[in-house]
Symmetry: D2
Subunit: 338 residues, 4 copies
Amino acid sequence: MINVGVLGATGAVGQRFVELLADHPWFHLQTLTASERSAGKPYEKVVNWRLETPFPDEIGDCIVSPTTVEAVADLDIVFSALPADIARSLEAEMADAGLIVCSNASSHRMDPTVPLLIAEINPDHTGLIDVQHDRGRDGCIVTNPNCSTIMLSCSLAPLLPHGIRDVKVATLQAISGAGFDGIPGMAICDNVIPYIGSEEEKMSEEPRKILGTFNGSEIEPITFPISASCNRVPVIDGHMLSVWVEAECGVEEAKKAFENWAAPFSGLPTQPDKTLHIFSQPDRPQTRLDRNLGDGMTVSIGRIREGIRYTAMGHNTIRGAAGSSVLNAELLKKKGYI
Amino acid sequence: MINVGVLGATGAVGQRFVELLADHPWFHLQTLTASERSAGKPYEKVVNWRLETPFPDEIGDCIVSPTTVEAVADLDIVFSALPADIARSLEAEMADAGLIVCSNASSHRMDPTVPLLIAEINPDHTGLIDVQHDRGRDGCIVTNPNCSTIMLSCSLAPLLPHGIRDVKVATLQAISGAGFDGIPGMAICDNVIPYIGSEEEKMSEEPRKILGTFNGSEIEPITFPISASCNRVPVIDGHMLSVWVEAECGVEEAKKAFENWAAPFSGLPTQPDKTLHIFSQPDRPQTRLDRNLGDGMTVSIGRIREGIRYTAMGHNTIRGAAGSSVLNAELLKKKGYI
Amino acid sequence: MINVGVLGATGAVGQRFVELLADHPWFHLQTLTASERSAGKPYEKVVNWRLETPFPDEIGDCIVSPTTVEAVADLDIVFSALPADIARSLEAEMADAGLIVCSNASSHRMDPTVPLLIAEINPDHTGLIDVQHDRGRDGCIVTNPNCSTIMLSCSLAPLLPHGIRDVKVATLQAISGAGFDGIPGMAICDNVIPYIGSEEEKMSEEPRKILGTFNGSEIEPITFPISASCNRVPVIDGHMLSVWVEAECGVEEAKKAFENWAAPFSGLPTQPDKTLHIFSQPDRPQTRLDRNLGDGMTVSIGRIREGIRYTAMGHNTIRGAAGSSVLNAELLKKKGYI
Amino acid sequence: MINVGVLGATGAVGQRFVELLADHPWFHLQTLTASERSAGKPYEKVVNWRLETPFPDEIGDCIVSPTTVEAVADLDIVFSALPADIARSLEAEMADAGLIVCSNASSHRMDPTVPLLIAEINPDHTGLIDVQHDRGRDGCIVTNPNCSTIMLSCSLAPLLPHGIRDVKVATLQAISGAGFDGIPGMAICDNVIPYIGSEEEKMSEEPRKILGTFNGSEIEPITFPISASCNRVPVIDGHMLSVWVEAECGVEEAKKAFENWAAPFSGLPTQPDKTLHIFSQPDRPQTRLDRNLGDGMTVSIGRIREGIRYTAMGHNTIRGAAGSSVLNAELLKKKGYI
């Protein structure tokens, strides 16, 4: 078993990490870190468990550690659910100290030596780990993209060989994306908020890197523009996207591209049977009904039609955060980095 | 006072008509029609009033009429909240019989002799009424557009002189748009449904006519394409739109165009102080907070930025239906058609 | 394997039956019935699957049967999710024809020869099956109570030996209790409806029978009064109850009674580890967080305090309907009735 | 005109005060106070207006004051929406300095010399103001009860002459009761929380004083017990109560008592036509449909039936807070205290 820890284990994404790792076939969840206030106490006493899945009792009496390099020094992998400002220096120190840091934080995503990884989409970007090693780092940082970006990038992958020229995307995003306490009930009940700070910028920038080409030393980004309009809607989990893609193919060719696309490998523990599920019903995917497909790891695509327009939807804290990060770690193991 | 009636007075849009007309300064609400089942009974006994504004007691003991030409023969105007299939022949008969029919139904919207009217946007399209008269009709039919189309068209008007080349729009629409019983609670709570039947087609077609030019005998439609993706979200009232407009102006010019645009007339009873309200805050308009601006008749615009992208939002059963229809009737009165 | 079928397999409770039976260790789901309109077609073509759990593909091409005695004649058990009016005669015919009918319908619940069964609470009431046999019926009808009644009865069981004198209960019930199309979104979003037809009567009457004593030939009902006020709230699944019990014990004794109560048997496939889960946190159980405890079969109890007041909560379509019915069938098997 | 101010003018209740006072016929809203951070800036720059009614522009450039005795020294009345901990000493200082303090805070509610006032229910309790004066205070403090307590007390008033012996009440309370940021969206969407801190205690204690008798020097409290179970439900505004009253009258007598009860005076500007509205329909009052009756000042009663059980509902931030406080001030004016 590979010893792993979760940094920031009490928050919304942290709890998802714990849920996914508590009973993992390859990873032994040994360390949970949180703020000073929580350190030294059993996890079950400090976490306010707010997932609908029952609390994993086996990890309940794990004594929470402070979020320091020392606390995780004997682990193989740490999964980071830290806020971006704390993550920046701390994740770098941990990677320098030899740890593999799989991070959901945004701090290092656009660092040219750090893979911005979606396991099934750009697995060869793990090559950047060697670049980090070459620069003298013992461990490495591997990041997963922003939640909405993951859904968008997964949905663009099949069309990439068909000459994408322009992308426009409007999002309808769940409130869990802002963390447990991020959005007051008074702010979102019976309401839509047409703004999510920094989200549109991330959706424009991150896919350039994700969908770009690793040339052995760096990523050559894709060049078509992506324009996003992000909205918060009153749903708990699941980000839905209305996408327009201008490409050099017709809609029938696009449909075939979606249906024929398959992940380049299979069999990792957290990998769903289908990374993409293509719906033919006119009114699917729907957020509540389809967010749990593939245990929350499948991105659902539907309504592919003239435009080219389509709808994409996925679970924002599983496929869009903790689940993708765990899958990235499984890919590293498969590739021999662990 | 001008004697008016409401066709289909018990439904979601019908109740809005009653609310707006119960105390109108020009119009006397004399007749309410509904299905055979309700005819002959007092309105307060057959309506299940579901608006948040209190029931207008003064109309409570009005005896409901069947929806027939005879029942409304002595009126000046009828406002139609009928389903499209029933509206088609019945509205034509009523117009032939000399009535002014202000209709929210979709049946006659694309008829080349029928104005598809938003009072402040294309008031000269009332000229088509003369075309109807010339063809031997004593009265006339005047329609208002689909709810989402009204928000979109109002928001496009200021940019029209700036060379619009392409429009893409994603909608986040309220459940009241489907009528009181249209969408089960189980279908929409904690959910997004990425499909509304016929809505995208209406949004592509109707604005061509609305924003077109009346040449004295017919409407010359605008020609730029409009591509829509329509989503239902769990809000009660208020349709929000994420819009992209490709035009021959920059974003600063567009902002000025929005701010400088004003309705071509003022002072009609149902007309809001501002047809468009331009927000500068980054997170406005919001559906629940802003849908009641101008008593539900103002279309809110915000987040005008590079793209050109912006957000538009308005109350779907007031500005988007009954309110726009009543305002259309007020315009006809002002123009001397009544 | 025991061959079973589901009557009314396309509705809200019917789908829960299919979900629970598709992969059952003892029961082979062989027959699905629905209305004439659906009969003859594969289940996956006629069902609009609306549960968050993925559709059970293995049952997808099962050809739907009409809801007749002939269609189920070769089965051992039928689970009934029929409407009460249809259930009355049809369930009786099936039982007469030798079938074991486990019904969620209300039609036969108060029939003095029919067990109103909650497996862990009144398992000896299965003795009424012999009464049915004695009266010449080859099969039998076994019913489970109304959804809210199940939560209430489970929660009263531990206090029964302590001299209950009076019960008052206010409910906060989920919309799934009214079926998929039962409550319009417009009726329930941002709203509470303080009325559910016939629910308060069921909650007053059914527990008298459930908690009564089987004397070998009939049930002697309990005699304390139960007064209920039922409210519909905007949650998808999970009924919450605020309960007052006047009993001959103090609150500390009541707490111990709850904590020490245990189901009289264990190990049935659908039985949860704990029929009752007692929370000590002041703000639990919560509907969304706790409705899935024990795979939806656990009734959660919390806030036991002076009054004696407490909160009870459970999943209304699993513990409160299909799940309890399946568990009842498992009890019959264990007791040798199958 | 009487010069008034609002203490804590930017919060949920503070905004309701501003809404109600911006255009008041007797009171001139002169001063708005907030935290140090906001002081010195125009109100429109520091308030995040979150009511559905449009922002009252006439008060927008009012410069916000710090919350000190000096800042309000020249006013006649201050309305307090302060947190309880801040309110305690500050309200006392202001009253000592000669101001009339109408407070929504809980700090002084149970002070034996402070009226806990619902204008139409216990108007003679204003006599306690003389007690305050006798003790050397130049001004006075007058409080309104907790939001749920107001609904309960209004509903109990008609039954008081009929020998109430016991009251049990379960509440279904709106999220606005916890302030704008009080309850995270993640905590309440698709959920019920069966706990509101200190609420049940307030509902047991405050009505004893409100419904008690003023004997010229103090309040003699009523003595029957009130037992409350408080639940938070996902609605924006409006608290609903399921009430049981054990009294010395039958249900028909109770119905008559409700129907015949009338406020002891009429004509105050904020007073609704009917303090109590009695519904006869089985499914009313409903929260969203009826919370705005009487501009939010009417308490709706329905489902009066055997038990004696009934449902009561009212707007928690208008009738249940700011509106009742403003009405109290109007009563003081009418009684000559101002």
